[in-house]
Amino acid sequence: MRFLYIYSLLTLFVLSSCEELIQVNLNEANPKYVIEGDLNDLSSEQFIRVSQTVAFDAPVRSKPIDNATVTVSDDKGKVYTFNSVGNGLYKSSFQPKAKTRYNLKVSVEGEVFESSSYMNSYVDVDSLGIMEDVIFSDTVYSVTLKFEDPRNTPNYYKYNISVNGKDFEFSRVFSDKFNDGLYVTHQVSDSKSEILLGDTVVVERQIIDKPVFNYWNEVLSINPGSAAPANPTSNITNGALGYFSVSSAKRYGFRIKFKEEGN
């Protein structure tokens, strides 16, 4: 919950003064397959990435796998084949439709990984805004999206963010556990760097299903204070890391200006 976040923020604020880089001898585990499937109706080109884990001190972020067979089928039996386009990416051309279940199958080196995701309908945004927060005399900006949460159904939201034209990155996930059916405000910011005056911000809002929410919520809950950090629970079988999501999505653009609302 948010107050816990503030609490740990205060703790870290107290602690962060004595921080230094250190060397830790870490084991190198056997490589594991990682599958990232984030399909949505924003475009008619869909990508899935297959890669492997690398050692902690490896000079790359991951090892792309280009020899996998990747297919997605919908609950009407239609099969979409994904073709390798390099760097671990696989591409297929179709636009998923809401209220449909999609099934993923990835085969590589004799191993088969499967998953499925339900595509929910979009929940429209009512108004947009920019929020200015002063935390310990620093001014930090974030963007807000206000909307009516559908009553009596669990809803899950995921936001990716792009600042000044950079690649989209995961920002936050929300559930309606505490605000089902209310007029809700979601506040979105960049987890890596602060949003400053004059920046251009694009936010991608996705309506996701529960396993995908759980996955990203666990990613976010891993912090230095976790008693036992663990790999986030994937919705893919056979021990693969990563996730498979099919969502309804829209993008919203903002420009951070002096005391004015963005577009």
Binding site: L4, L15, V60, F178, P224, P232, T233
Partner: protein, 774 residues
Amino acid sequence: MFRQYALLVVALLFHASLFAQTKVNISGYVKDGSSGEVLIGATVQSKETNRTVRTNSYGFFSLELDAGESTVLISYVGYQPIEEQINTTTQKRFNFELSPIGREIEEVVISGKKQNKNVTSPQMGAINFTIEEIKNVPVLFGERDILKTIQMLPGVGKGGEGSSNFFVRGGGGDQNLILLDEATVYNASHLLGFFSTFNSDAIKDVELFKGGIPAQYGGRISSVMDIHMIDGNNKKFAGEGGIGLIASRLKLEGPLQKDKSSFMISGRRTYADLFLKASNDKTVNDSKLYFYDLNAKLNYRFNDKNTLYASGYFGKDDLGYGDLFSFDWGNATATVRWNHIFSEKLFSNTSLIYSDFTYNVNVSNENSDFVIASKIENISLKQDFSYYANNKSTWRFGLNALKQKISPASLNAQENSAVNSINIEKRYGVELAAYLSHEWNPTYWLSVLYGIRATDFMVQGPGTFYTFDADGEAISIEKFSGSKVIKHHLNLEPRLSASFILDDKQSIKTSYNRIVQNLHQLTNTTSSLPTDQYVLSSKNIKPQFADQVAAGYFRNFANNTYEFSVESFYKHMGNQIDFRNGADLQANEYLEGELLFGKGRAYGLELYVRKTKGRMSGWVSYTLGKSERQFDQINNGEWFNARQDRTHDISVVGLYKLTDKWNLGANFVYYTGNAITFPSGKYTVDGRTLFYYTERNGYRMPDYHRLDLSATYEPLKENKRFKSSWSFGLYNVYNRKNAYIIDFRENENNANITEAYKIALFGIIPSVTWNFKF
């Protein structure tokens, strides 16, 4: 001829009774002559029979003597022993008063040889301290802290940098029963754990049981820490206090009726937030960051047979950021006790006890306005008897009824707030316990303490109870209304300790205990937070239990100047609790589905040498240990190290009386770093680097070590009633940056590179405190 034989047989049969004298029991209290404060664990010894007894936690003793004239010797550490000639035909109740040894008396060799309780008592795995004994031990910020001193004893693991949390013999932090005047203290720490809730001004002494736990205690599987508050001076009005860098304290005590009744009130408050007031920023200026403690006690002696005690504690932490956010938490306890002496042999205590722990969060900003409140409380009625049958046999028995109520965090939102109110059901339970315990010294070389405790924990309604499948998904629901008993958890807890006394300097002891726990704290962070959720045993949650066996050798040297002990133990823990990945522990009605159940084992060896007398005193303690857990769903079902598993743990405490005015203290601690989970690889998801974890707690934090120094200056002004002293301290003298947190991240400039960094908490920290007494 036959008649002669018959006479001989009769004579032999009655031999014993013909020559034995009539036995008489005397009883009474041993007190501090200057304050009237009762002394706990003082010895009363008969010179004729050489028999020794100790005062109980109310200062009461009962001793069997030969009828007629006797000499008794009364002694207590730090006090001038006295010898009294008494005549048991005229009087059976005695109150003895001892005078504290002033510092002008350099050393008193206590006559007799009964300063060897540690050797002769059947109790093992127990340590006790008076506040007086530890007042010169150096501590963080100069705040004397009983919990931090306890951490320097063998078998007691330190909770981490500056933390008052502790782990006993491989157990968890929530498996320690902490009692303040018999009331359970749920959360014994302040301000992220840097301070304990026990203001040392108000504390008389503390006893910690690590094993061989006597049958009168139950409820937590790892240890019992029994803390007694002082009663208050019933001779004269007195005060004590101190002004330190971050906290100030004041205690007042005095007689309400001389020698009969007294009061004590003691308070402490930190003022870290005063620095915030200096800020120009309005929000920072309005922020709060402080805690306070209030202890109070009243006692009234109606007559020789009846004494009434009322004591209470109230403490609160308050953290706030402007009026946007506030967070407070605290404990409250209240105890009313009635001591009644039925006869010289039968002592009774009746207690009515209440304690609670609450936390509240207030959030109010432009789109949210809500309050989160959580409370855990219990009310308990206890009846304890001690029956001093004779010099060889003491019986203790009693009953306890405890009602436990948990009100989990509920969210109360204002209208038009962006969040909904959430009400999580309260949980109720009643624990009935009965115990019988017998301390028996059949011969001079054997002393046995055995007993049994029977508990019935009743899960009570009203409430909604779920059953879960293997994945933690709710599969069925049952609703109960009224205070119907939904389930009984019946347990028998046998306890046994025995001491084989080789001679008056050495003994071998052994013990076994089973102990059961029905209240479980759910902590999934490295430090325990005030917001940790509590659950009771239920249909899904079985009571935790521990079976512990221990054996040890105890030896004193040089006329009891040095105490040495070596103990080893093995502990099995059942129905231990851990969590599923990503468990949601807050405001979750399916909370029990997030829990995993497994087992634990811990074993170790503890060495302890303590010098109790002389200019130089102190101790060295060393623990070699192992603590592991096993859960089918964690770490592929294989055993893994508990986080608090410490291979080596060493503490050295030295106190030196330099001159009459100066006392010096030093302590050094070293321990193996905590077992911890580090990544064994990395990968990316959505452009974000994630770490790949393979093994639970498969890595170690770096070893921890630290040296602290202290000096106390007490000017000699004996003629004046007002005394003051200065305490100077240096924490972490060689400024070691002990790792508090180690974490991993992408390099800021090159995302291909990942790096490890550590956060250290306290470097070298000086402190100064001015203490006064009148």
